[in-house]
């Protein structure tokens, strides 16, 4: 039984209330279908129309003849396997490095009491205040010529991976979670002779599955959806992720082929969303309720 909302259940139970309710319900279903599902349908079927049909006026709701050639052409002509693979490599690496480095750092800040730990945490939290996009140019210059080492991360997946680790939000999320793990549990492990790494691996991490899941989803989605940073990092066409490649190739390619490529580029994230939707939606909703 749901709790009382704006409109009282009594009003809804009356015949007039029920009529209004179902009218509104129908209206919202229709609106949502038109606003959010229809564009997706239009994209998926648009790619299956013939090049003539897709530019015809008035447009056809259902393709006259279904062509799969849009999709196969996109796959071959736009070299989608390469770009999809690049994206997978970039996202997976960023995800793994973030898990390893952010978890280790959060564990250290939460449980190992390093000297100047508070200062470091403050420095990390301060970066939350700095809007990321405003710093892309100096970040680019740093990636192009790393201090001391004087090597360049441009056109290398490392150019995506390492900056992704500097994610104050995920690190703080992990630290906050670790803070809740009682010291006694860790000390018990220590008495049993477990080292710091062993404690992290066999005690802390198994307890942290929920937060690791949230961090993983955030990390993967962020890399897959990003545009400006990979646009700067990868000037080399063969190294570009799908988002950058789509825009670069969109100028001189047939419309149906481009649309098919757009659909293919969306599939991984949409599938991931449909699989993990409960967790994703719960995560977003939970974040808002205060306290």
């Amino acid at each position: 039984m749901s709790t009382r909302t704006l409109i009282s259940p009594l009003v809804l139970a009356r015949p007039r209330g029920r009529a209004v309710y179902w009218t509104v319900f129908g209206g919202v279903v229709l609106l949502f279908a038109l606003a959010f599902l229809f564009p997706v349908y239009w994209m998926v079927t648009g790619a299956m129309k013939s090049p003539d049909e897709v530019t015809r006026t008035p447009p056809t709701l259902v393709p006259d003849r279904w062509h799969l050639s849009g999709y196969t052409d996109a796959w071959d002509l736009m070299d989608l396997p390469t770009h999809l693979w690049n994206t997978v490599v970039q996202a997976t690496g960023a995800w793994l490095l973030q898990l390893v480095f952010c978890t280790a750092a959060a564990y250290a800040l939460s449980k190992l009491k390093p000297a100047f730990g508070k200062v470091i945490l403050g420095g990390i939290l301060a970066t939350l205040m700095v809007p990321a996009q405003a710093l892309v140019v100096p970040k680019y210059l740093t990636a192009a010529d790393l201090p001391v080492l004087h090597t360049s991360l441009l056109n290398s997946p490392l150019g995506i991976w390492l900056p992704a680790v500097a994610n104050a939000f995920n690190l703080y999320l992990l630290k906050r979670f670790f803070d809740q793990i009682p010291r006694d549990v860790l000390e018990a492990a220590e008495i049993d002779g477990a080292g710091r790494l062993r404690t992290l691996w066999s005690i802390v991490l198994p307890m942290s599955r929920p937060v690791l899941g949230v961090v993983s989803i955030f990390a993967l989605v962020a890399v897959w959806q990003d545009f400006l940073w990979p646009l700067m990092v990868f000037s080399d066409t063969d190294k570009q992720p799908i988002s950058v490649a789509l825009v670069q190739l969109s100028q001189n390619i047939q419309l149906t082929v481009l649309i098919a490529a757009m659909v293919i580029a969306s599939i991984p994230m949409v599938v991931m969303f449909l699989v993990f939707q409960r967790h994703i939606i719960a995560g977003i909703s939970a974040g808002s309720t205060k306290g």
């Binding site: 704006l6 009282s8 000297a115 700095v130 100096p138 210059l141 757009m262 974040g287």
Partner: protein, 323 residues
């Protein structure tokens, strides 16, 4: 607009707000100082990777932005101090005024359109008792479509020839529009795209906030004779005031960094009607090879947005203490 857009941008405010758990008092006592040194060494071994990345890609660039803003900087050969020349040069660029005007207009429009719409949607969805899961998934679907794909999709809808937008208007016997190609309509067209692509996250956050309102408040208001609008005004809005404020600040921060939509859909045009500040930064760096100018612009954007961020963090923190 990376609003309460992608999950990472939709900072759950509470996560930042709750005060830290008290540390257990003091370090383990009695260990010889050598042991302590070993402890410190181990702690820093765990910290090293993360710390290095923060130093390289957050702290150092922030300092560097300020330094390069006062330099004539050529990659490879370093910088040469030029005082405030970058700022004056950027300031006298006619595109500078256009970029700031467009960015501010975009933000205001995004607040008007992109703010009211999700709130009303959440309000209605919260009253519906059927197919809740369906609505939540569908409203969030556009958020999961890569922003570049959303932008290209809408570019196709806006096409003056066979675009869906004008076809729909024609079918309804309404006058057609130039959408993203028209000087007057381009910016609004981009706001519509950004709103469509991002409102899912905002709706879900509002929905959660609405569900935390105690039902008794509505009952009491009803007993006092409050009608529907009065209940919204005197119960719903005051109860969600904090979330509304948070999301508004986040949205201002996000929309002022808009880049993908103008870059992909309009290329800054027609004329300079959709050049945004971030787009201009990109142009200075990669078209004009003027990194000093780009950093001068970055610093201006940084100062402005950090003010909003500071306000945001302050509010979330004080709310966390109150709770």
């Amino acid at each position: 607009m990376k609003t309460a857009s992608k999950p990472p941008a939709a900072l759950p405010p509470a996560a930042l707000g709750v005060p830290e758990a008290p540390r257990s008092a003091g370090r383990r006592t009695g260990g010889p100082s050598r042991r302590r040194l070993a402890d410190q060494f181990r702690a820093y071994a765990f910290l090293a990777g993360g710390l290095l990345c923060f130093a390289l890609f957050s702290w150092y660039p922030a300092i560097r932005a300020v330094v390069i803003a006062f330099q004539k900087y050529t990659p490879g050969s370093g910088g040469e101090w030029v005082g405030t020349a970058n700022f004056t040069r950027v300031f006298h660029d006619p595109e500078f005024t256009a970029a700031w005007r467009n960015t501010l207009t975009f933000t205001v429009l995004a607040l008007l359109i992109g703010f009211a719409v999700p709130f009303v949607m959440a309000l209605v969805l919260n009253e519906l008792r059927h197919a809740k899961a369906f609505f939540r998934v569908v409203v969030y679907l556009p958020v999961m479509i890569p922003p570049v794909v959303s932008a290209l999709l809408w570019k196709w809808f806006y096409d003056p020839g066979a675009g869906l937008a004008n076809e729909t208007l024609r079918a309804l016997h309404l006058p057609t529009s130039n959408w993203s190609n028209g000087a007057d309509t381009a910016l609004v067209s981009l706001v519509i795209v950004a709103t469509w692509a991002n409102l899912g996250g905002t709706v879900l956050i509002y929905l959660a906030a609405l569900q935390s309102i105690p039902g008794e408040l509505y009952e009491a208001a009803e007993l006092d004779g409050a009608n529907l609008l009065q209940r919204i005004r005197h119960v719903t809005i005051p109860q969600t005031r904090f979330i509304i404020l948070m999301l508004m600040l986040l949205q201002i921060i996000a929309t002022m960094q808009v880049f993908t939509e103008p870059f992909v859909i309009t290329g800054g045009g027609p004329e300079d009607k959709t050049v945004t500040v971030l787009y201009l930064i990109y142009k200075y760096a990669f078209l004009y090879n003027d990194f000093g100018g780009a950093c001068a612009l970055s610093v201006m954007l940084l100062v402005l947005l950090s003010t909003f961020s500071a306000l945001y963090l302050r509010l979330t923190r004080s709310e966390g203490e109150d709770a």
